[in-house]
């Protein structure tokens, strides 16, 4: 099985009212939805195509308007696509029987690497790539973006952790007077420590629930914004159960650690000092 793509930059002059020859003889093209919108093209319109401003000669009929598959690589590009039959494009380019690449489907069970090596050996002038090699190369952009996101996430986690530690410390310190009174009336340090820790855990747990809610809302807002901005159906922010679990676990652990450290400091302080008289 083979596929024969030929990709070229074309210039397009759109004019629905072009005096066209008999439509049945015209090449058909399929136009990307955004291009159709920008040029107000509809199925049945005729357009002229060319490779240079002084040679826009090929008249074609818009046979279809299609929605391209959402592709992250394309979101920020301004190029618009249209598709046409290979012979029509080859004729337009003045390069009959030429293609940019072949797609080759192997018989099941054939090792891909040896097939690639055989093609490289036997067909001088060709370069053969496995699909996985092309995928790896074309996904390099996303790997970079992914690494960047991960780095930003680490910085954000550090900032959040410090923020959390700070808040928990303040939260526990707010209880100075209460802790002093409890100590005055004979409540044991362990009991006070437990109560403060429980409070810290509750605060961290409630914070996690609220934070998860906020993350879902922020994720939905991010997706809505970017989908509208880039006119795409791609998903930009994905709050997965794994991410929620990681965030909740981290927040709880940090919250409890911070709460425990602050509570420990508090119960070790003399009650009179807590009361402000020591």
């Amino acid at each position: 099985m083979t596929g024969l793509p030929l990709l070229r930059n074309l210039l397009l002059l759109a004019a629905a009212a072009l005096p066209a020859p008999a439509r049945a003889q015209l090449p058909n093209v399929a136009v990307e939805r955004r291009l159709a919108q920008e040029l107000s093209l509809r199925v049945g319109d005729t357009i002229r195509l060319g490779t240079a401003p002084d040679s826009i000669r090929l008249v074609a009929t818009v046979a279809a308007v299609y929605e391209p598959r959402p592709d992250p690589a394309e979101i920020a590009r301004v190029e618009r696509h249209l598709r046409m039959h290979l012979p029509d494009l080859a004729a337009l380019l003045g390069a009959p029987d030429r293609v940019d690449r072949f797609g080759v489907g192997l018989v099941p069970g054939t090792p891909v690497d040896s097939a690639v090596a055989a093609l490289e050996r036997n067909a001088f002038g060709f370069r053969a790539y496995s699909s996985s090699a092309i995928a790896a190369e074309s996904s390099e952009t996303f790997l970079v973006v992914s690494r960047f996101h991960r780095a930003i996430a680490i910085i954000t986690i550090v900032a959040s952790a410090v923020f959390l530690l700070c808040i928990m410390l303040l939260k526990v310190e707010e209880r100075r007077m209460d802790a002093a009174v409890m100590r005055f009336v004979g409540v044991r340090r362990r009991t006070i420590f437990g109560a403060l820790l429980l409070e810290a855990a509750l605060v961290a747990a409630v914070g996690c629930v609220v934070g998860t809610g906020l993350a879902l809302v922020a994720g939905a807002a991010t997706n809505a914004y970017y989908r509208n901005f880039f006119d795409t159906a791609l998903t930009f922010s994905l709050v997965t159960p794994g991410i929620v679990l990681f965030s909740v676990a981290l927040s709880l652990v940090l919250g409890l650690l911070a709460g425990a450290a602050a509570a420990w400091r508090l119960v070790r302080t003399r009650p009179l000092v807590l009361w402000g008289r020591g």
Binding site: N9, G125, V144, A151, L170
Partner: protein, 397 residues
């Protein structure tokens, strides 16, 4: 005593709390600085890169950007000659970019070839050896990656192969060329193996369809302020080519990387929110803990203004210290993030996403200071409005 010193001592009363707050502000400030650098750095870095050799205009095939496609302009020599006759043009040079190969023992090495006019080029800087002379059809320039790949240096001979097409009988049109010098190609991606010859050699290697064609024409105007008018004039004169000034190319490039600008705005805003929350929370709790003190100050005749200034000074001290730490941290993290992002395939290796400049640092510092000041407003208002008698009564119990 001065309010700043007073603020410093107040913060020193709770060293752990202050240290944690400073750490939080520093991380948020670092993030803010990075995002400010990112939002403006893309434009600045690209603009600097485009103008590094002083060529302010680029002419490319209609509807394309430089080296964005394989398209080429026909009649390049005529366009260049016309440009050189223009009174506002100081220099103009055509460039043809194409894939080609070099023989390396029994195999072929894929290279990218630039056909240039050495007398007017804006694509490279010679790092060792010498430049090509105009009309030097026997010489070649190698970029560092190509030199490594071919294990060649100045004075060595390399064989280039072009017109590789199995359907053409003369499958491999070879040229033996002497390496004149090693250069740094300004717009090459990291590790891109590029070589350069004079334009006619590259046109010949590129195949019969490349005669008198160019991918790009670089134009240097005599004065920067003439660039917009010159661009307009060239557009009218050469309707079949695309004329872009550096500023316009920056706009195109910005469009490509708009995601990062957007992200920088979002993350920068989040950093500011975190900073505000941290400072406001810390100061509010500090004020609440010291309401008795504040009521006493008010009772002995200290004005609301002094109380407000004192709370704001505490916020200011926190912000300044946190921002100072944050800027140092931000510069470090920017290098780390830049190292990640500059791995983008196809991006010029000389390009930088994070450009530390005095104006960027200043802007981030001002934003942080204003943020810190604004974060202190609520606790300052709280302190100023504390009812004296009621607070003193509450303190006495």
């Amino acid at each position: 005593m001065r309010v700043v010193a007073w603020g410093l001592r107040s913060l020193g009363r709770q060293p752990l709390r202050t240290a944690l707050s400073l750490a939080g502000i520093a991380v948020a400030a670092a993030m803010l600085l990075d995002m400010v650098m990112l939002s403006g750095g893309i434009d600045r870095s690209f603009s600097d890169l485009l103008l590094v050799r002083g060529y302010q205009l680029r002419l490319t095939p209609k509807g394309t950007l430089p080296f964005d496609t394989e398209a080429a302009m026909a009649g390049a020599s005529g366009i260049v000659a016309a440009l050189r006759r223009d009174r506002d043009v100081e220099a103009a040079g055509a460039v043809l970019g194409t894939s080609l190969y070099a023989r390396d023992a029994d195999s072929l090495v894929t290279l990218f070839g630039y056909g240039i006019e050495p007398e007017a080029q804006g694509l490279y800087q010679v790092t060792s050896g010498r430049d090509l002379s105009p009309g030097d059809t026997a010489g070649i320039l190698l970029g560092e990656p190509a030199a490594r790949l071919l294990q060649a240096g100045a004075g060595d001979t390399v064989t280039l192969v072009g017109r590789l097409d199995p359907q053409v009988a003369g499958a491999a049109l070879g040229s033996r060329l002497v390496v004149r010098g090693i250069v740094r190609w300004l717009y090459d991606a990291r590790d891109q193996p590029s070589v350069g010859t004079v334009l006619p050699v590259m046109q010949r290697l590129s195949g019969p369809t490349a005669g008198d064609r160019a991918s790009l024409i670089l134009v240097k105007a005599r004065a920067d302020d003439q660039v917009p008018a010159l661009a307009e004039r060239l557009r009218a004169r050469f309707p079949a080519v695309e004329v872009n000034s550096a500023a316009e190319l920056v706009v195109h490039f910005r469009q490509r990387l708009v995601y990062f600008r957007q992200l920088s705005y979002i993350l920068g805003s989040m950093s500011l929110i975190v900073t505000v929350l941290l400072i406001a929370t810390l100061l509010t709790i500090g004020v609440n803990e010291r309401l008795g003190e504040i009521a006493t100050l008010r009772a002995i005749g200290v004005s609301r203004g002094t109380v407000v200034r004192q709370v704001l000074a505490e916020g200011g001290v926190l912000t300044v210290l946190g921002a100072a730490l944050g800027i140092l941290l931000g510069l470090l993290t920017a290098r780390y993030l830049d190292a990640i992002l500059t791995r983008f395939p196809g991006l010029p290796a000389a390009f930088s996403f994070f450009v530390p400049r005095a104006d960027t640092l200043g802007f981030a510092a001002i934003v942080l200071l204003v943020t810190g000041f604004r974060a202190g407003l609520y606790p300052a208002w709280l302190a100023a409005r504390a009812p004296i008698a009621a607070t003193l009564r509450a303190e006495a119990t």
